[in-house]
């Protein structure tokens, strides 16, 4: 773990994963879908957008960089497209006017090539700061897919865990020191939290990297403190959109891992002022020390506009600087 430590006294800034796609990517993706441009033309634009986001994070002094997922449509569908055994299904609605293509398990899932390593290498080549490897966890891929093959959810999840583990190992071989395995669905069903833990153990057991998982709010108050048994070094949680209500739990049951402290609501156009963000960090520091705290938005920023996302990230960095000066 120590070789993965970032410089400084803690309170490092990072992001949860996705950033908004600039208009030229949205346009290029539709053109590609209609067969008007080829894959390499799309790739070139995705590389350009990735470079712009890495440069932006560098420019505001972000400590732990993400590639922004310019090449991913959806956090589950991206992996489903690359994995044997999963097919892309029809459109289903998630909320409002937002729809996604929900994958279908039609056979045993497997992995015949690395899925994210080339993008990680590209992003890392653009900066001296560490870039996070970003994967979607086995439980969430199962939970957000239809299942026409496996006789139990457990069988499906454990097969997926081996796929995600192999991808994580390849990221580590490529040099990733921070690997995030997102499990936003982990807080959905309390009777399956053991399955989340079991499958995450398959993924992280062979890894030397600093491991992180992002979990959405869900039934947090029921999932905590058992959530701390998920075998990762860090859990990333959303605090801003619940007005830091999670902190109450930490009084009775101390949070023992590194934390990713989400201090900006990703579902609102409002840009939280620096003062409010700084106050959120100060309140959280009463429960978790700075040397175990990463600060970021609540969740991926892909549903915001590019400008909103940049303003939120800039304010997060400013809030961190304010509080760092008080340490």
């Amino acid at each position: 773990m120590t070789e993965n430590q970032l410089p400084g006294p803690g309170l490092w800034t990072t992001s949860v994963g996705s950033f908004p796609k600039p208009d030229y990517i949205t346009k290029a993706r539709s053109q590609f879908a209609r067969g008007e441009i080829d894959r390499e033309a799309l790739r070139e634009l995705e590389r350009k957008a990735t470079r712009e986001w890495v440069e932006f994070q560098d420019s505001i002094g972000t400590d732990l960089i993400v590639d922004g997922e310019m090449y991913r449509g959806d956090m589950v569908a991206f992996f489903a497209e690359e994995m044997p055994g999963l097919e892309i299904g029809g459109l289903v609605r998630s909320y409002g006017n937002r729809y996604y293509r929900k994958p279908i398990a039609t056979g045993p899932v497997g992995r015949d090539h690395p899925m994210t390593v080339d993008w990680w290498e590209y992003a890392q080549s653009l900066t001296d700061k560490p870039v996070k490897g970003m994967l979607t966890g086995p439980y969430t891929i199962c939970d957000w897919s239809f299942n026409e093959h496996y006789s139990s959810r457990r069988d499906f999840v454990l097969d997926l865990a081996k796929v995600v583990r192999d991808e994580a190992l390849d990221l580590e071989r490529a040099g990733a020191r921070f690997i995030q395995i997102d499990e936003p669905a982990a807080s959905t069903r309390m009777d399956e939290l053991d399955l989340v833990i079991e499958s995450m153990n398959i993924v992280t057991e062979p890894l030397q990297a600093h491991t992180i998982t992002h979990i959405c709010y869900g039934k947090f108050h029921e999932a905590y403190p058992k959530m701390l048994d998920i075998p990762v070094d860090q859990i990333d949680l959303e605090f801003a959109n619940s007005e830091y209500s999670l902190l109450e739990e930490f009084s009775d049951n101390p949070f023992t891992k590194f934390i990713g402290l989400g201090i900006s609501d990703v579902h609102t156009h409002d840009i939280e002022p620096v003062d409010a963000m700084a106050e959120g960090i100060r309140r959280s520091l009463k429960h978790i020390p700075a040397e175990r705290m990463f600060v970021d938005p609540d969740c991926g920023l892909k549903t915001r506009t590019v400008e909103e996302a940049k303003e939120k990230l800039s304010n997060i960095k400013k809030a961190v600087d304010v509080v760092r000066a008080e340490l």
Partner: protein, 324 residues
Amino acid sequence: MAIETTVVGSYPKPPTEGEQFTLRKTLHALSRGDASESDLRAAHEALAREVIEEQEAAGIGIVTDGHVRWDDILTPFARHMAGFEIGGLLRWFDNNVYYRRPICIGPIEWRGPASVDAFKFAKSIAKSRVKAVIPGPVTFARLAVDEHYSDHQEFVLAISRVLAQEAFELEAAGAEFIQIDEPALLEAPEDLDLAREAIYVITSELKTAETTLATYFGDAKRLGPELFEFPVAGFAFDLISGPENMQVIKELPPEKRLQAGIVDARNTRLEATDDLVREIEELASIVGAKSLRVSPSAGLEFLPREKARAKLQRLSEAARRVGS
């Protein structure tokens, strides 16, 4: 005799693969200022018509408008109540689907019907019978935030009085069937007495409509047979996500109807028609063919359009075969 078929409520909004998704485009255009509210109304009505025709073509006896105007089952009603504002997104039970949490900030009052116009439209175009669906007061209260009453019972009953007004207006508009959705009751057996009282507030306003209390996404076993003392004409259960419900229905009093959710509304795997036939026969032997209605396990919006349609076709084919 034929076994009746129905749906639980929602229906996929996306079109058959490859066709124009007019509603989605209209909503995008509206947010850019390139479309008007009347364009949106036209898109909603066109989709409601399509969804009703599709259910009818599949052979469903009692249809809904597919909730095509709703983002979730709470928001449209909360918007028509004084005392509520609309909050952030939360997961809809254990689905990768979200709803906006209503926040109660003042006394709750009815501000006019929320669903009556949509019901009237559906009824005007449907050849089959149309069911109205409203959220149940306990589910509404448990998924909302109460910043005003600070007393759960008072909060639930205040919501039930508004929903009673809605149900009354639906009946006046010609609703023969009113389904009250209480999925949250499954995880709240402590609210059972309160729920019965709140449901009574609603159903005691009704004279002719046939009422159904619907639960889905789980087992009703924890609620016990006291559930059947609720003042409704029938009960809907999800036999896919709640396999224990097969035991629960054995306690169903003979004067009550059963709406049995037997095709999986949350997975694409198609049920074999022969299996459905056997299941319907078993259900008919327990509650009697006359008291039985079969349906999907929940709203069909969790599925892609083609799968929802295929499931309804198999459901109604199986129901026909049992009846013949």
